[in-house]
Symmetry: C2
Subunit: 300 residues, 2 copies
């Protein structure tokens, strides 16, 4: 059994994490967190979403944040683009990578972006066409890929078709999201294995939530199926405002610690990462429990 | 990737769980729990330990408990035997399976049973000789196999030698214990894979703790290396009184749920198991948090 030597971690706490928090974090404080994350070795950050500021006020500073973050050739920022309007906003910034998204179920897509999957894919196609011309990197994300809070099971065939369509539009990297944390390792292995076989050129990523404490087991299963990119959120923040029961992304600190222990490099320094958790606690005025191994590292 | 069709679960909550609890549970209440576990489909129960009652008063009713539990050909009970004296006590009961144990590190063995590993193995050999003659089934358990709270890393070579010695004494089944929950999936895979290759006749088992939330990932890794027997404790009870920082066994309910979802049979009915957690809460007067999926099942 061969484990990968390197895993790319995409920090999504500033977007998927903060969008679920009631306390509005100032751009200045977000910048402090970004800087501390970069100091820890985090080099891929999903920073924000160009969503309607009235719907998610927490992310209303998207443009300002993108203007102020430290731009460096070694740091890759991305942001979610929910529609054409959001894409127009994104184009006014320095952003070179955007994430388009759709849900694997009709009901979740409707709740999330108020249209059908097919309508979403048509809008995404428009965005992709322009993005490709402008050499903006495209990432696709499919929410509720492993189970929907409204519809339950997702058919692998439909999911594979959706991946194929997004890939055809120019999304060379696609993340399957376990938005409500219901995936199991066999399911994760099977679907990534199928997609890897059918679409060998695709770069696969996994966006896992730890709602039911299987996220690390699912990471392992995804790695066995060839996934080498994982989304995670500092402090295990997160959820989805339009998916009942969705809590916590897999926490970056637990993921990095496990990979470290397995001898898999991430470029991230675990002790610095614990400082980031401390900052998040301070900003959100809430306690984030560390696992005993990390607590011990913090105390030393 | 092939997953096993069936996983044998050994419920250790009554021993490894209760031995860490301050509230002394009456034999009558333990019997209620045993009966409820059996009703859930649990068929392998590590019931108690023939340890000095002064050291662990919680388990002082070993003989009485073994007398009173429902004996049925489909239910296998076992108990820990720490020394010759304990073995003499065990022989006075109906028990047909005993577990002998040693630690993978000298310091933990000293803290646990106050002698060196070699002295432990000599005592175990004596016990095994008599047990084999009396056709009592032998299980070996090696504590702190994946890391010791005093010594840190455990050498694979020493661990393999220890397994080989126990196997040679007649322990056809051997469980490696992650007593303080520090194992990582690569380590788990590598050591079981090595043992499986070197001692093909051995029945391997894993006794994992969820201290650092990697237990389910470690289960997956162990399964990939051929392990089909897992210890777990209802409600995630447990720890080790002589291992600082050791908390919670992998919880039976989370393990069974994950395996169910993966299509792997355990013979255990998850809704009934939730009732067992409820009983444990009542007996120990403490709250046990269920993961959201189990909480939902409980509410329905």
């Amino acid at each position: 059994m061969n484990f990968p030597k390197y895993i790319k971690i995409v920090e999504v706490g500033l977007r998927d994490g903060l969008q679920n928090e009631d306390i509005i974090i100032s751009t200045k404080d977000k910048l402090c967190l970004v800087e501390l994350l970069i100091k820890s070795g985090v080099s891929n950050i999903e920073l924000t979403s160009f969503v309607n500021p009235k719907i998610i006020p927490q992310l209303s500073d998207a443009e300002l944040l993108l203007e102020e973050v430290p731009w460096d050739k070694d740091i890759a920022y991305s942001a979610l683009v929910p529609n054409i309007k959001g894409f127009e906003r994104a184009q006014q910034t320095k952003l070179r990578e955007i994430t388009v998204f759709v849900s694997a179920s009709e009901s979740h897509n409707k709740a999330n972006v108020n249209c059908s999957i097919d309508e979403s894919l048509k809008k995404i196609e428009e965005i992709c066409l322009i993005a490709k011309n402008k050499k903006i990197k495209l990432r696709g994300e499919i929410a509720v890929s492993f189970g929907c809070p409204f519809e339950g099971t997702i058919s692998s065939k439909n999911l594979l078709d959706m991946v194929r369509r997004l890939y055809g539009m120019g999304c060379n990297e696609i993340a399957l999201g376990d938005t409500i944390g219901v995936a199991n390792p066999k399911q994760v292995y099977d679907i990534f294995n199928l997609i890897g076989e059918k679409i060998p050129g695709l770069i696969m990523a996994a966006h896992l939530h730890d709602t039911n404490r299987r996220a690390l087991a699912n990471v392992l299963a995804a790695m066995f199926a060839g996934v080498e990119i994982f989304d995670s959120a500092i402090g295990g923040l997160g959820g989805c405002p339009f998916a009942p029961g969705a809590t916590g992304n897999i926490s970056t600190e637990n993921l990095v610690l496990m990979l470290n222990k397995m001898g898999i490099s991430t470029g991230i320094e675990i002790k610095q990462l614990i400082n980031c958790v401390g900052l998040v606690e301070k900003l959100l005025k809430k306690r984030i429990d560390l696992i005993p191994e990390l607590q011990k590292l913090k105390n030393n």
